[in-house]
Subunit: 355 residues, 2 copies
């Protein structure tokens, strides 16, 4: 159990996979207990396990970076609704990671290949080759950029919100990994005005100062609808929703006819487990002919081919600010996840597992 | 003021339009008082007014039938949200009507033409020619069919819900003017299974007996989600929502991944003025990637050209049951509207103003 920021010495256990000659050991983080509400460090367990060599068809990957994402809290609490399995007690957790193939039992991947996959929260991933997707080692200066949420934001804007040139766009949790991408990409794809909300004065300043938002506000500072009316006197056409709850209701209030809402996340629910955080006013949905659409990246992966080159060009030209907070060491991941949910970071948060 | 089912003798007043030689008088119904909640007969006022001849560019129409529609309650209470002006105290009310041109000051319309327009609640309509739309006198056995909500249902299914062959479709208020069309048209356009809810055992029997629904239930009889799970064991793909509130929340609960909700009405809100009748669970909207879309007919009038011939063929072939309740006399319209909102009728309710 991890009880300090450095963690305690993990016990060595044998892996549950059929025993083959284990030439390595690796750390992994397991769910120790199911939290009731916000998790604590005691809900995580760090263990060292033996890592077998890959069987035929399998590939062994040494993870370099893993992504941290507030949605992981809901996989811990097990609240239903998300289209993915919850974490199970005693089992290693999962999440996006990027790593390097160290041994391959399958001809489709070779030692040294860079791959992204869903087996974060561990130093070594061992799985059939089909669980990995090879990526271009030269695409970005650091492999962690492969974990970015730019594509999620792009899909939300283009497919769920059907962004049109000239739209006024509101993004909640705009200083976060997805929100910071959504606001900047909306502008790059033709939005006339981009408004963001965040949870601290420093983040608000960051939105208008560094990320180029036209207006921003702290959602703690009074009624969100009032802020929106001031920031968008002509109304909002698109709302990129990362939180739900009051911000969603306020956005609906200030939305123009034929407005579109892309539901990307429910941070409000993740933090407070409110049973009702959806849009309250059906009359407004009807009267203004609004569209509210939930989306996940998995339904729109075909967008990757068009997004990648655009994103790399934006990065190269300095047209987009891609921020990353890098925390070192898998043992630090649990504390970092709690800090992330507490609002400690802007941009993308990753854990460097190996370099 | 109308205080009995027969009304009292209306007073004769002069019309507010610029005085021309008045050759006729006609009855009209005005909003007498703004109701707080459900209206009563005392909130309506019946008056007889002088009807001037049309000025150049104007057309005088004798109304034959007017439509009654529960949404009229919200125009009486003035609750915001709908994209149309509320009724004003002392002013004649408005609504869909079909009538015959009796005098025309414009070359685009001639005496005897059949037209639909928005100036119901009066015996004679006088307006510029552009306020009327000429319709085919031979299209239906009775001109009242021009007031049907088939096109509304069609647009909701095709444009808002993006109905696909094989879908399981749930329709609330399914015995009503729009709902009865939505359920039958869904089946005719390829739905595999159609489920309806209504507010009485007689209506439920009517849905499965006469209208061909596969399953139906009375929404008063226990949790709607339980009924839906039983009626749609494989889940719901499309929900045609006429009511909001509990039925909307239940539909979301039982909805399949990529389900689509067409928000057509908010009867629940109209009856109870609940401040929150929208979808409660944002996580389900996100996790199941649902689309919730409000729509009104006005945004999709181009569908009329393709719908009309299909609808007439369905009627001719007996493929669709089009039911109408006809109440005689404009003086009966207020009481009929209150009865309609109280759930007295199935299908479309119209008032015959003249024959």
């Amino acid at each position: 159990m991890i009880t300090t920021s450095k963690g305690i010495a993990p016990s060595v256990e044998s892996a549950s996979a059929p025993s083959r000659r284990a030439t390595r050991t690796g750390l992994e983080v397991r769910l120790a207990a199911r939290p009731d509400g916000l998790p604590a460090l005691g809900d995580f367990d760090l263990a060292e396990v033996a890592v077998p060599d890959p069987a035929p068809g399998q590939v062994l990957v040494r993870n370099l970076f893993m992504s941290l994402d507030p949605g992981m809290l809901m996989l811990m609490t097990g609240e239903s609704g998300l289209p993915m399995p919850r974490y199970e007690i005693g089992e290693v957790m999962y999440g996006d990671a990027v790593g390097e193939v160290v041994a391959s039992g399958d001809p489709s991947l070779s030692e040294g290949d860079l791959v992204v996959h869903r087996m974060g929260w561990r130093e070594y991933a061992l799985a059939p080759a089909g669980a990995y997707r090879r990526v271009d080692k030269g695409a970005y200066p650091t492999p962690s950029t492969h974990l970015g949420f730019g594509l999620v934001a792009y899909v939300g804007l283009m497919d769920a919100a059907r962004l049109r040139p000239g739209d006024t766009v509101f993004v909640s949790s705009a200083a976060g990994a997805t929100g910071s991408m959504a606001g900047q990409i909306a502008r790059l794809k033709g939005a006339a005005r981009v408004i963001g909300s965040a949870g601290s004065p420093a983040k608000v300043a960051h939105l208008t100062g560094k990320l180029g938002f036209d207006a921003a506000f702290d959602y703690h500072d009074g009624p969100v609808a009032d802020w929106l009316r001031e920031a968008a006197p002509d109304g909002i056409d698109v709302y990129f929703d990362n939180v739900g709850g009051e911000q969603l209701r306020a956005a609906i209030e200030v939305m123009n006819v034929h407005g579109r809402i892309a539901v990307c996340g429910a941070l409000n629910r993740q933090r407070t487990a409110r049973p009702d955080d959806g849009p309250g006013d059906l009359l407004a949905v009807l009267g203004k002919r609004l569209t509210i659409r939930g989306f996940t990246l998995g339904d729109h992966l075909e967008r990757a081919a068009e997004f990648g080159p655009q994103f790399r060009a934006w990065l190269r030209d300095g047209a987009i600010v891609y921020e990353e907070t890098v925390i070192d060491g898998l043992a630090e991941a649990p504390r970092t996840l709690l800090d992330l949910v507490g609002g400690a970071y802007t941009g993308k948060t990753v854990v460097r597992i190996a370099s």
